[in-house]
Subunit: 273 residues, 2 copies
């Protein structure tokens, strides 16, 4: 999926919402547990109820790997369901991978070829040759951690390295990598004031923004400092949407919560010129 | 598996060799491709031929995920084979994971509970709350990236942050985390001279050392600066052992190459007092 197609979809739906499919079987409605594949059935119901309100879905791979073969099967069925029924949706494998070159190539193959996601999240610690194998897939997008939304972000990401915070070095350095135009970045919403500095470094890149909702970030603040001419934001909400209810009405309640965010987003997106 | 059991095994076998099971089906002997599960059959043959020469096996998870469900099945069969037939072997899921707390908990569950590995590799970029969920498994070991063996290690890991290289900040900071005694660290062999500085910071921790062999590091240099009273090293070799031959003799040749390393190690391990 091209960036332009994503931007068009955002304008069309008046939404830059990404819904995180972080499915914990201990949190889903109990009536689903009788079905053969509760995780997939949960995802399918959430997708059916919310796909008109969001532009992206982001399964967090940890939640599938924790259930072994069954989890991997549910993940495969979920991405297939999205690719067949909603090819207009941008799909993100939230995997935070990164390894030496030949190993990163295998991860890229796993998420871009075998599972056919549009994008994958990666971690920068191992540097250029750990990320470029993902960037070789020029039809795909590689979303690199910059400044995350957890408290541990302040352990290393904000250390002053060569006169600037490490996350800014990460952004600056990555701009020089091959096919860097296919990079997007993870920037946590809990620190909206940082967005202005980040936009100085990467004015045109899409930012994937976790931390709105459960982690406490303000959507308006994020947009004030982070939005660019192409919108340039994908704001993720996971638990606040998918666990809106633990009853049989879970999908309806998820859609209601997604709509609250979508309507707020619609008010923040400038009218298409 | 306790650290003391690992140290005893090293003394008994006169080896601190870890064999990396990074299985690429395009590189394994073609006669295996006719079998139902070529990856597992390859691993089983390698394990059968080399388990007396090494103390650890390290499947790199990327190589399994790249083959989807089949890959995950082969990984599960491999770890089960090791746990049943060779409980004395230390097993490492080379996954380089790291995410916000509740997500890292799911990865910990995947590798420590579902797959029952003794240890998992993790990436430090997201800080304390991304690693502590792994450390909560006090019977297990968490192996954190410090200084890796690839060229990209010099992009961020060696940047000066708060007056010292970032990887040294990572080591120092991690010592304060809960259950830090269960941390081990990845330190690449390609920079043996760094080992002295690393030993000043973490004198007692085990170091997992890639980069001997294919990536060009010297075993003698690594031992000179990196060995401690408990040996404290697991030196990994992957391609140099498992792809020693692409013929029907692959397992025999793998054992020959493993033995070359084991004999060199035996000469570098002080006699048990």
């Amino acid at each position: 999926m091209t960036t332009q197609a994503l931007v068009s979809e955002i304008q069309k739906k008046r939404s830059f919402l990404c819904i995180g499919l972080d499915v914990d079987v201990t949190k889903i409605p109990t009536h689903l547990l009788e079905l053969e594949d509760p995780i997939f059935e949960f995802n399918k119901a959430i997708i059916d109820a919310t796909h008109h309100l969001c532009v992206a879905y982001k399964p967090n791979i940890a939640f599938y790997e924790a259930y072994g073969l069954k989890g991997w099967t549910a993940l495969q069925k979920t991405i297939n369901y999205l690719n067949i029924n909603h090819p207009e949706i941008f799909t993100i494998a939230d995997a935070k991978r990164g390894d030496i070159g030949n190993t990163s190539s295998m991860y890229a193959k796993a998420f871009f070829e075998d599972l056919a996601f549009d994008s994958v999240t990666v971690a920068p610690y191992m540097g250029k040759d750990s990320i470029e194998p993902f960037l070789e897939f020029t039809e795909k997008h590689t979303i690199m951690l910059a400044l995350t939304s957890n408290t541990g972000a302040f352990d290393f990401q904000t250390l002053t390295a060569n006169g600037q915070p490490l996350y800014q070095s990460v952004l600056e350095t990555s701009k020089e990598w091959k096919n860097a135009q296919n990079l997007m970045y993870v920037v946590g919403a809990t620190k909206a004031s940082y967005f202005a500095e980040i936009r100085n470094i990467v004015p045109d890149s899409f930012l994937l923004v976790p931390g709105v909702g459960a982690q406490g970030g303000s959507l308006e603040e994020v947009c004030k400092y982070g939005m660019n001419a192409q919108i340039g934001l994908l704001v993720n909400s996971s638990r606040g949407i998918i666990y809106a209810s633990s009853g049989r009405d879970f999908a309806i309640k998820a859609a209601e919560n997604a709509q609250v965010l979508q309507l707020e987003m619609a008010g923040l997106i400038p009218k298409d010129p």
